[in-house]
Symmetry: C2
Subunit: 318 residues, 2 copies
């Protein structure tokens, strides 16, 4: 598909489709971190979205566009992360079957999230071929539609609605920083802002230990990750055939973030903004902290992508 | 002062005064806990208010009403809690001096909050006479205006703006649960709702270990706390001369919450709603969990009062 396969009108149509069933998440000025970091800093709190992540938007936009005949056969995906719960929720809203294939080592909290919506996941081995084979088998048996977590124009348009809300919430916005994993959120953000307000500078952020997007932009082709051990588990994926060209043509700059900076940023968000965020969601603030010169004195929105932590070992203070 | 000294028009006037400088915090439907608790549950997230608590509203409303002459001499309060930072922030916005007297054993995070706004607290002994004497001394020396944390009509009117927003955010609301410490938030909530929408049932929640409001309603006079060791440190205060009669005449019922239920509720909010809340803010959800019959099948808003935790020992999961 060509890089212009998703445009602002698709994002606006997605918003009309989903807005009654997604939270209009707040975009909150953080006075304390603004002072500390010498900029005007807003957090777009998609951790407060249903299922705890922006993924609820794209999945719902995809499921609501299935024909009656497609819908009756259900949807299928393989995911160890937030897309699993997002697709389950979308299927439940439409009242159709959802086949959620999860690697057997998925975080307990993500498995419970799918179950709490009312679907029992199917478990498979952890390697990509096994996951794809398991999903393909379900597809063959049931005729269910596969909904990819990011490389799908309906998903990209749905994720673009985050930026649509930001434009309404923050007047005279100058800069946006969003995390880059598979690139669904980032390409939706770019599609929206490049058409609606091209003067806004959009920065991508990813862990230095998952710098595949950074390298892909350098080499001009999709590069695979070289390691899979960043704490930001949502950003370990490589870009897709649809998301890469959008990012390549529209992104201002990719910023890399060290592991310790991710954890520092996470702590600052929890302590100061009172928002529970997963490490992946803290990467953009880590980028701001690591590259202060680009953001000094500017009005900047940091997109907090999600808040799904494994709380097994969590000890809150008093 | 008579119990009708604060009315809905005061709350509306307060809102016009402060709305440009407070967050319109979100009121978020929590689908997962709604299913689990068999009601339609919304969280009014005042933990996302500036300084991390609803107290920012009342303090700003009070400070903005000082005459020029009063304002020039500054404000003073004694507080170990969120009112300290709230008054400091309000003074900074108006550009006047703030004298914040804090017991020397105040939580480090609360002291740092005042400092981060630009004021150095003055420390005193922890007993009430010492605190009052220290504040009185400052008042005498400087001519600063004392701003009480809750027993002040300007404070009550300011806290009432939380309910004003809730009315706009949740159509056909049936029930509200709010915590009761000194009663500022509760009496503001009652003033607003009893006049604007008297059919809405308002419940108060307090720890069983800080049941002074419950006992006060029984005896018909303000009862002091009998112990000071509840984990909900913001609710250890007794009611005031202004807040008690409002609560006495307008509240539907006080519900008591056991300590373990407070901590369970806190964990549910953090894990499910992705909001950082202090134990005091979790008491209303604890009340809902402990008295499910009153709320089954109803549309209920739980006010989350604040998110200021001492994170010294905090370990977030991955």
């Amino acid at each position: 598909m060509a890089q212009d396969s998703v445009c602002l009108s698709d994002v606006k149509a997605a918003y009309e489709r989903i807005r009654d069933r997604v939270n209009r998440t707040p975009c909150l000025l953080c006075e304390r971190l603004s002072t500390e970091l010498d900029c005007e800093l807003y957090f777009k709190a998609e951790n407060l979205q249903h299922i705890g992540a922006f993924k609820a938007r794209g999945a719902l936009n995809a499921v609501l566009q299935l024909s009656e005949e497609q819908a009756s056969r259900g949807v299928v995906t393989h995911s160890s992360g937030n897309h699993a719960a997002a697709l389950a929720r979308a299927a439940k809203i439409r009242g159709i079957p959802a086949h959620i294939v999860m690697p057997h080592n998925s975080a307990k909290t993500k498995v419970e999230a799918v179950r709490s919506i009312g679907f029992e996941p199917q478990f498979c081995e952890t390697d990509t071929p096994s996951r794809e084979a398991a999903a393909a088998r379900v597809q063959e048996e049931t005729g269910a539609s596969l909904v990819h977590p990011f490389d799908d124009p309906r998903i990209i348009a749905g994720q673009g609605t985050v930026a649509l809300e930001v434009l309404e919430q923050v007047p005279e916005l100058e800069q946006v920083i969003a995390p880059v994993g598979g690139g669904g959120l980032m390409s939706g953000t770019l599609v929206t802002l490049s058409e609606a307000r091209p003067e806004i500078e959009v920065y991508g952020a990813e862990p230095a230990w998952a710098d595949d997007a950074y390298r892909s932009l350098k080499s001009g082709k999709i590069e695979p990750p070289e390691r899979y051990d960043t704490v930001a588990d949502g950003l370990r994926t490589s870009l897709g055939n649809l998301t890469f060209p959008i990012i390549q043509s529209k992104l201002r700059e990719m910023l890399l973030v060290a592991e310790e900076q991710i954890l520092l940023a996470q702590r600052k968000i929890v302590e100061t903004a009172k928002l529970v965020v997963e490490p992946s969601a803290a990467v953009p603030l880590g980028a701001l902290i690591g590259h202060p010169g680009r953001f000094r004195g500017r009005r900047v929105v940091v997109i907090l992508s999600g808040g799904n932590l494994d709380f097994g070992s969590c000890q809150l203070g008093k």
